[in-house]
């Protein structure tokens, strides 16, 4: 029984962290129509920033500032936002798939830096002993998991409330207007590039924050945690849940992560040990197919975007 509870807490913590990323992507893609294929990169920037800011001193390596965890998370947020500025400024004036290519590129470059810049990132071995917040005072395993889940849940709830407010604000309306018809929005004096950059950076900061929370949670990060598959999982969450709808983003995150974990466990149980590595590949093929089928058959997702009608327009 205790094992199940512990697993449920673990599962909910990880999927809530991904739900936060998914909210960020919903602001970028669902609301503004910005195509980010570099999610794993922004998540990684956040994770490494938190690791370096809060971690203990590692011999022969940069970082180890042992700062409080909230400072690490703030740093994660800021650094991911800066990375978004670097890709956003040259590309957001251009055709939308240029952003797709550039974000894809930055994720690869971040992966290269994580693998090769040993002094900063620990190389392929990654960074270990990333401290958990208040682990000293709260002690032990079981109750600590619940505490961390509560922290993640509060941050997720705040982010959700903030996103809901933003999307319904005049600012959110401009974003949707730009997505639907850039020319019309421009004719009302709204600079598409500026609004896009704001939405892109803001969404990426959420991804970075989630990366920081992930690093503090698992305590160990390496380049293997930030492969393109992560980007793809988040996309599947948003598309299946319902792009353009913050609740859809949350539901999609939990549903897809449940499917992913279950299919992983199933393949693990069914396949002989020799085929386990290949089984992981098969799992990715399955989720790729799921997304392709969802795109063809139900592009709105489980709960799609709601049409918003001004209350002044109702008769």
């Amino acid at each position: 029984m205790e094992g199940y509870v512990a697993y449920a807490v673990f599962f909910l913590t990880v999927s809530s962290i991904y739900a936060l990323v998914c909210l960020g992507l919903n602001l970028q893609w669902g609301v503004t129509g910005l195509f980010n294929v570099g999610i794993a990169g922004f998540f990684a920037v956040g994770a490494y920033t938190t690791a370096l800011l809060t971690g203990p001193d590692y011999p022969g390596q940069f970082g180890g500032f042992s700062l409080p965890v909230p400072v690490g998370w703030l740093g994660a947020l800021v650094m991911a936002g800066l990375a978004a500025l670097v890709v956003g400024i040259p590309t957001l004036r251009l055709r939308d798939d240029h952003l797709a290519i550039s974000t894809f590129g930055i994720a690869i470059v971040i992966q290269l830096v994580a693998l090769n810049f040993q002094k900063l990132t620990g190389g392929p071995l990654g960074i270990n002993f990333i401290p958990r917040p208040l682990a000293g005072t709260l002690g032990g395993s079981g109750s600590y998991g619940v505490f961390y889940l509560a922290v993640v849940a509060v941050i997720l709830a705040l982010a959700y409330a903030g996103m809901e407010r933003l999307v319904r604000s005049p600012w959110g309306r401009v974003l949707r207007a730009i997505r639907e018809d850039e020319g019309a929005a421009a004719s009302l004096g709204k600079s598409a590039a500026v609004f896009r950059l704001q939405a892109f950076v803001l969404g990426s900061t959420l991804m970075g924050l989630a990366g920081g929370m992930y690093a503090s949670f698992v305590g160990f990060i390496s380049p293997a945690d930030f492969q393109p598959i992560l980007t793809f999982q988040i996309w599947t969450m948003l598309i299946l849940g319902g792009s353009g709808n913050n609740r859809g983003a949350l539901i999609g995150a939990y549903a897809v992560w449940a499917l992913w974990s279950a299919s992983g466990a199933l393949l693990h149980a069914l396949l002989p040990a020799a085929l386990q590595v290949r089984g992981a590949a098969l799992q990715i093929v399955l989720i790729g197919l799921a997304l392709a089928i969802a795109l063809v058959l139900r592009p709105r997702g489980l709960i799609g975007e709601q049409a918003v009608v001004s209350r002044h327009a109702r008769l």
Binding site: V37, D97, S102, G105, I108, V109, T231, V285, A292, L295
Partner: protein
Amino acid sequence: MLQLVADGLIQGAMVSLGAIGLTLTYSILRFANFTQGEFVTGGAYAALMALAGFAGMAQGPGKIGALSFGWPMLIALIIAMAATGTLALAIEWLLFARLRRHGSAITLVIASFGASLALRNLIAFAFGPQPQYFSRDLQIAIQPIPGLRVTPDQLFVLGLTSVAVVSLHIFLSRTTLGRAMRATSENPALAMLVGIDVRAVIRWTWLIGGALAAVAGIFLGLTVQLRPTMGFDLLLPLFAAAILGGIGSPYGAVLGGLLIGLAESLSVPFVGSEYRQAVGFLVMLAALLWRPQGLLGERG
């Protein structure tokens, strides 16, 4: 220095071949096709399978001159080109054509990202993640000029790339189909109005793009090795080449490919070979900042 230029040109030749397909689909179908990398990988593994088939039939195949392979490789090349072209058509029919009917170009991009991931892992599932080789024989490099070492295989790659590029030029400038493709890429609506069969143009775009990607994959397999991620690792340089050269311009893709290959190779003494892909990316960002239409592109 000379050696770096030669290495860059050889790498650039492969990038050029892959980028031609990318720039064609980008301009004719108007979306960035992330599956292009897997066409490169698929072509290489298709040739590997074809070669394995031949090895069962004939007694030890002879080699052509100083090259590391014999005639079966050339036949395998043609088979792989056809197979990869067919693969591209199959994905178009199963996925992209359906999505184009009801959806924006950007839905195609995420679909192609998913298809790329699925194909890559399918290949990894079928062939295993370990690297494979067309030939395990060591090839002796020759020295055409003192201080410059190239293998005969690398010279073959350069030679056949030039042949492919010249044939493509003749195809695009002299044949009706080639002109139809250029017209569609300039303005699809106008092309349809003057009676061009746009659907046929789209089919040929996939076939040609896939076939050239297969050639790039085989060359990569010949000069480096075959891995399930070989094409995916090439994707960023492919995009960089297509954008630097100018979207929609096959000549731009060739020029861009060579320049990206040179930039990557010449940067190795300064930043190390690990960061090669990052150099291509920086060149691409610079191109997007200062000349978003690319070197040979016309549209803004």
